[in-house]
Symmetry: C2
Subunit: 283 residues, 2 copies
């Protein structure tokens, strides 16, 4: 029987810490505020925004949501971001991506001031993740993985962490975060030879390749800590992750569930960045 690394208690503990900090900030007259800018039909974003709004409210953080029409011009989007960037009452800015193809996403991301860049949309935030310095903010998903590992007191120093997936939103930043905690980190991907063998060498194995149940029996050995970043809806309507939970769970020492694992923590991480941004603003 493996330990189930459920995300709910991690997110809940994080929200408690946020709430305390929010109260401190409000006592100093600072009302932590996150602005979310979206362009076009909200569609898929709607459920996300509802969840974000609910959690923000529970933490005492104000959410300001701005939606531009799908055919908004580049200059209109730039103006909206500049206004949010210049507004001292806004502490964090989240630009929902992907944007409509008519817009230059890179140019828009550059308009987010790094000190308000709570989800790592800017080059300076990326440089901070890579160089282990406090520049901007790291992306929420890999930060959520680190919160789970810390909450369940998984030892990292000296251990072998293998990450499958090298994206700039999960794999690469997570590699830098695990490295900072003194793990020995291996990055695998679609071109990796002998993937199963390398996965079995891991003490901590992170599946972040974005394919349903891509890591199966041959990737696991007894005693591993398994972290699943993926989430997919199967034809029968059920949800699964990037690893085969049924094959993994009997062997693993500990494993994150899907749903209820990493995805549960990311919103709380994002809100914690808003609080840090608001605190930094006072200093």
């Amino acid at each position: 029987m493996s330990i189930i690394l459920s995300g709910a208690p991690v997110a809940s503990a994080l929200r408690e810490r946020i709430k305390n900090k929010t109260e401190n900030l409000k006592a100093q007259g600072v009302y932590p505020t996150l602005a979310v800018l979206s362009v076009g039909e909200e569609g898929d974003n709607e459920a996300y925004l509802r969840g974000l709004s609910k959690q923000a409210e529970a933490c005492g953080i104000d959410l300001l949501s701005e939606n531009l029409p799908a055919d908004a011009s580049q200059s209109r989007a730039e103006e909206a971001l500049r206004e949010l960037g210049n507004d001292p009452a806004i502490h964090g800015i989240l630009l929902l991506r992907p944007l409509p193809k008519s817009l230059n996403e890179t140019a828009l991301c550059r308009l987010i001031p790094p000190e308000k860049d709570v989800d790592c949309a800017t080059d300076l935030s990326l440089a901070g993740v890579f160089s282990h310095r406090q520049l901007g903010f790291p992306p929420a998903t890999p930060r959520g993985v680190m919160e789970i590992l810390a909450h369940y007191e998984i030892p990292l120093a000296g251990k072998r962490a293998v990450i499958v997936g090298r994206s700039l939103v999960v794999g690469r930043p997570l590699a830098m975060m695990l490295l900072k905690e003194d793990a020995t980190v291996t990055l695998c991907h679609s071109k990796t030879e002998n993937l199963e063998e390398i996965c079995r060498q891991a003490d901590i194995l992170v599946a972040a390749l974005g394919r349903p149940r891509a890591l199966s029996r041959g990737c696991f050995r007894p005693g591993q800590v398994l972290v699943d970043v993926g989430i997919h809806r199967l034809e029968d309507g059920s949800l699964c992750g990037d690893l085969d939970f049924g094959a993994a769970e009997p062997l693993a020492e500990a494993i994150t569930p899907v749903p209820g694992g990493v995805g549960t923590v990311t919103t709380a991480v994002l809100l914690s960045h808003v609080i840090t941004a608001a605190e930094n603003n006072i200093l």
Copy 2:
């Protein structure tokens, strides 16, 4: 008998390519120019600057060397960098580090325009290395390692590369460069458990930990490609690298010598960045 991955032919081929490009640029009225700013006694830098100056001349690149006194104020150093940054005749800027402790190195590095940042002193250059985009320039030493591997046609895609050393000037950027070429990359360091075993799993093993002959017999298996980034002067006056060449060479398929390996290539890489900066300036 292993193949000796000598740096000289790599540097020489690189300089040939630079020379051709320099001639093209001069035909268009552009005289590629590198400015080197140093503060304080040149001491250790002197030999480096002499080598740089000689190679720049051989490539047709103008070198402008500016030295500030050891007690130069922050504002004096900032002024010097701003002048170089604003001068359209200067294409690349190299700020020799470490600087005297009285100066704020981070603040000074930020004054280098990323498009002139030929040795990765700025956050934008770091973000470019991390995100695999053309922002600024990568650091010269890991880029030199990649030039050697490319010159000797070492296969990288799918292979296991193990880097020992996680510095921001070598280990981490090299990990990102090898990843871009589809290698499976592991970053090891002082806290890594079972270092020897992990090193033996490497197809390409890079020693970049900065300790003389730190990787010895137990780290090697037959058929590996070994790259040594270190260089140290021993008590008897001889030079050695971070790996034990005598133990490694009989087993390795290919190995870089010290001296005459990676260190031989870095200056040519730096000069190639000056040319790229001058070319980008025309576009």
